[in-house]
Subunit: 282 residues, 2 copies
């Protein structure tokens, strides 16, 4: 009853503890990554990191992932794989299988699976009136990095790295689940779109007091930039959440507002908070 | 601790029983399906069926799958989805999540996950000298169907259907695992390639007495046609295997030969059995 990953029809993993959590994401070169400004390995890293972030959003612990790649002949598959392997290592989510086919585009479909020992997974739909709304970090870094790169910044610029190497908030997600948070999601398409989805799923409104803008980013990038992969959390006992984060050596989550009962009330500092966000485009 | 599939960052499934088995397969229109002769829904069906067949090959029970699709604008995604849904229904493997992105090719990456209650999964590497080698059905139907379709046969021709709608041998795989078979794999690339891989993984040779050719297929199609998705099984107690198949109302597995110790001995009716098989081409 061991584990096997290589050379068989399928990978075999030791039994999962608790619920199994599964998600799939596909990234396309030229759509999800601007190949003029970024190396191919970034597509591999971002594809794996984006998928793993979906586990973080549920409070799950990664168990592994599989990758299905299409690419035209002549593609540097080793470079692509290097990016995937890097993300796999930093997220502790081993690549246990894969498939490869020829196609005109470079596409990377990553499927991640994780487990939720103890309490069940956190959904978007659990937010309740009176809950505090928090995010795990300041927003807009990825969009600012993309802007800076296009304006000539080097690949090692801090914000450019934030765009190239998003860091899934796995530890934060598990901490929030353990601390009894009510609802959670990852901010992949920007707060301006994702917070509305979150409120829609929970059937609630929100009153935002603040949007934390990262150093070097604009308010617009913070709201509609996307790809920050910070977690959005709703918790009734925010003090406990902060304590658990502190105990685990995590940066304190940032309060952005509160959940309200009126599903139509959606404001930032008293003004309507419009639904707007970032969509991938060719 | 229920299950949820829709609208969250990830799907949540009730705990798996025993080992978790995971596999991913990507299918590309024009590579894995000839769009001149087959409707788009067949790509969806074949992509899901091929992935589920990897679970069958391990003796696993399906728990679900996720699909990541890329397609150019204007693609009939409903037709594609209809094929995936059909395969999901007949294999009892629910589609619990997905992702969609724009790309030049129509590609379908399917990741399946299953469980192995009781005994662990069956690998390719367990075949032992003296084992009987069996297949779950006559071979060459898929390749014959492709040939017939290109020669003008209708989409409802029996062999054409075998090409369009491969049927993963899930019940057979679970029966073989339960009956204590030593090793198993699915014949996706043809016996002429897959049997060598099987023998390589087990470090053994084989002596074939027969290759069962399906009605309407040629010996060449049976050996190197591919996409039959019948299971190849090595078992020391083939009588028990036959009994279990009979008890479950399954067609009797067909003996094709025996496993031998000498890894270099690989024959069909006394002649060398060459390594040859089917590879997808654009």
């Amino acid at each position: 009853m061991g584990e096997r990953h290589i050379g068989d029809d399928a990978a075999v993993l030791a039994p999962f503890v608790g619920q199994a959590v599964i998600s799939t994401d596909v990234a396309v070169l030229g759509v999800h990554l601007d190949s003029e400004y970024f190396p191919l390995e970034d597509l591999g890293f971002k594809a794996v990191a984006a998928a793993v972030s979906d586990l973080a959003a549920m409070g799950a612990r990664p168990r592994g992932c599989v990758v299905a790649v299409t690419a035209p002949e002549g593609t540097d598959l080793e470079e692509l794989h290097r990016g995937m392997a890097d993300a796999s290592i930093v997220t502790n989510c081993p690549i246990v299988g894969g498939d490869l086919a020829q196609g005109r585009d470079v596409t990377v479909a990553v499927t991640v699976f994780g487990e939720c020992p103890g309490r069940g997974a956190l959904y978007r739909s659990g937010a309740q009136p009176g809950d505090e709304l928090l995010v795990t970090g300041a927003l807009g870094r990825s969009a600012a990095g993309l802007r800076r790169r296009r304006a000539g910044a080097s690949l090692s610029d801090e914000l450019v790295v934030a765009h190239r190497r998003p860091w899934p908030r796995l530890v934060e997600g598990m901490a929030a689940r353990g601390a009894g948070a009510h609802a959670m999601m990852d901010l992949s398409d920007g707060l301006g779109l994702d917070l509305h989805r979150f409120a829609d799923a929970s059937g609630v409104g929100f009153v935002l007091s603040d949007v934390p803008v990262a150093d070097g980013a604009t308010m617009d990038e913070a709201i509609s930039g996307g790809e920050d992969y910070e977690l959005l959390i709703a918790a009734d006992d925010a003090a406990r959440l902060r304590l658990v984060f502190q105990d685990r050596g995590l940066r304190a989550p940032l309060k952005i507002g509160v959940v309200v009962k009126d599903v139509t009330q959606r404001t930032l500092r008293g003004e309507e908070f419009e639904r707007r966000g970032w969509q991938h485009q060719l």
